[in-house]
């Protein structure tokens, strides 16, 4: 009998404990879902495939400027990706600029890469030397150079060669081999 009392007490403690545990608030999920983790890494990687000219930068040490139109979906994740990383033999840092207000096309003057999220209704600018990356906006019907395409499982991208040529942007053939290349 002594065992049954002991067990009943343990069982009650056990169940009480489990119930109170279950009522604890949820652990916050990761800030960024996997689709945007991959897109953030791709956005960072894309810059590696662009053949930047010396004239694209103020000086040898000035950064590659990655501009994100708000509401941008990456948050701190993209900042953590580029933190402490440098490009090329000049070891250029990467800076991230978030753009809230667009006065005119001069707003993008300092940008090397511009990401336009699908939540933004801004029309795609067409400026020499400015690489424009979009998501879920077919490049056949926009001025963008690269567009992220998400299917059920993977993130891929399409590239519009006409738009690249129009803005004098040169991209490595290695990158083009991975992309779905269109010409309109």
């Amino acid at each position: 009998m002594r065992n049954i009392y002991l067990l009943t007490t343990l069982l009650l403690c056990f169940l009480t404990g489990s119930v109170s545990y279950a009522e604890n608030p949820r652990v916050e999920p990761l800030e960024l879902n996997k689709e945007y983790q991959v897109k953030a890494a791709m956005l960072y990687k894309i810059s590696w495939f662009v053949r930047w000219e010396t004239g694209d930068f103020v000086d040898k040490k000035s950064p590659i400027n990655l501009c994100l139109l708000e509401p941008e979906p990456f948050g701190a994740f993209l900042d953590q990706i580029v933190e402490g990383r440098f490009f090329g033999k000049n070891k250029r840092p990467i800076s991230i600029t978030r753009i809230d207000q667009i006065e005119d096309q001069n707003s993008f003057n300092a940008c090397h890469v511009l990401f336009i999220p699908k939540a933004s209704n801004v029309s795609v600018p067409s400026l020499p030397g400015l690489l424009v990356v979009t998501e879920d906006r077919p490049v056949t019907t926009s001025q963008a150079h690269i567009n992220f395409v998400t299917n059920n499982k993977h993130v891929t991208f399409e590239v519009n060669m006409n738009n690249l040529n129009k803005n004098n942007i040169r991209i490595s053939s290695k990158f083009l081999k991975l992309a779905h290349v269109v010409r309109n």
Partner: protein
Amino acid sequence: MSCWGNNKYKKLIASLYLSISTCSVLATPSDLADLSMQDLMRLNINDKPLSYDGFRERWSVEYSYRQLRLDGYQMDDNSVGLMDILFTPGEVRTDRNFPVVPNKSTQEVHSFDLGYRVNDKLKLSLVVPFVRQDTDHISSVMGFYDFNVASSGIGDISVLSTWYTPINDHSAWQITGGISFPTGSIDEKGDTPRNGAGTLEQLPFTKQLGTGTWDIPLSFSYLRHYGSWDFGTQLTARIHLGKNDRDYHLGNRYGINIWAQYFTSSYFHPGVRLAWQHIDPIDGTDVDLLMTGQFPFSNAISNPAFFGGDNMNLSLLLKVCNAETNCKKYADLEFTKPVYRNMTGVQPKEDYQFSISFGLKF
């Protein structure tokens, strides 16, 4: 900053991460930045860690079959021949030789497991085992030179509660605790030489179907998903509370194991587990197993002091399931061989363990 500061390791890890499989799970921003564009395009953005998939569906059912085979004997950490421990008339009787020697034994357990996920962190399970034991003996008792004893029936039913706490997207703690009820019989009898032919006598401790005690099974696990790999380490214990109606309790068990499983893009996912376990001796004794005279035990497995010790097992694992459907239907196979055993006194030697499970989550 990634935890792998060294470039060599980064490349190695990134290669692992590469995921030939479709079941990759993402790691830190730094890990992702180390992948090539091609590798990023291969990553499955819908994937979740497979180790924790018991926490995705509300219900789960599983049937498992486990077989444990004992063959031969060992004394402490040395193998001994059957003739060394079989007492024959004319020899000197000691506490290490016996007139009856169970030489080959097979234990089979059919388990039915019903699981219910209460919420994202808590899962309850009911496990109902059906146990069958079959043992061949040799003896020096006239009329019982070789004989077989078997027992079968419901074992100890247990209720388990599993708490799952994610640390981040690719690692988690898991704590399992519960109660095992003394539903398995400890009064199994067989025709043994103890009182001659045609009479049924109480069978030794390990030939019973249950422990006879209320038990607390516990485990504390750390789970880690990395690329196509699942890793884990687990502390386990089984505590017997009080003594049973026959005035003994089996030795408590304490263990630790580590395992790794590789999730391929196909249906077959191999793995390996290394497990160490310590088992205490039996506390108390069953007086119905005793004989009169200087040597009260007719066989080694009736001696409560000859129970437990330390052992280490190596298991090969194979999970068969479709990772694309989150392994909602699966089969698990496991084959285990002892790699080290230092058991207390004279004990049957474990040859192998084998198990196969079929499960469904919905």
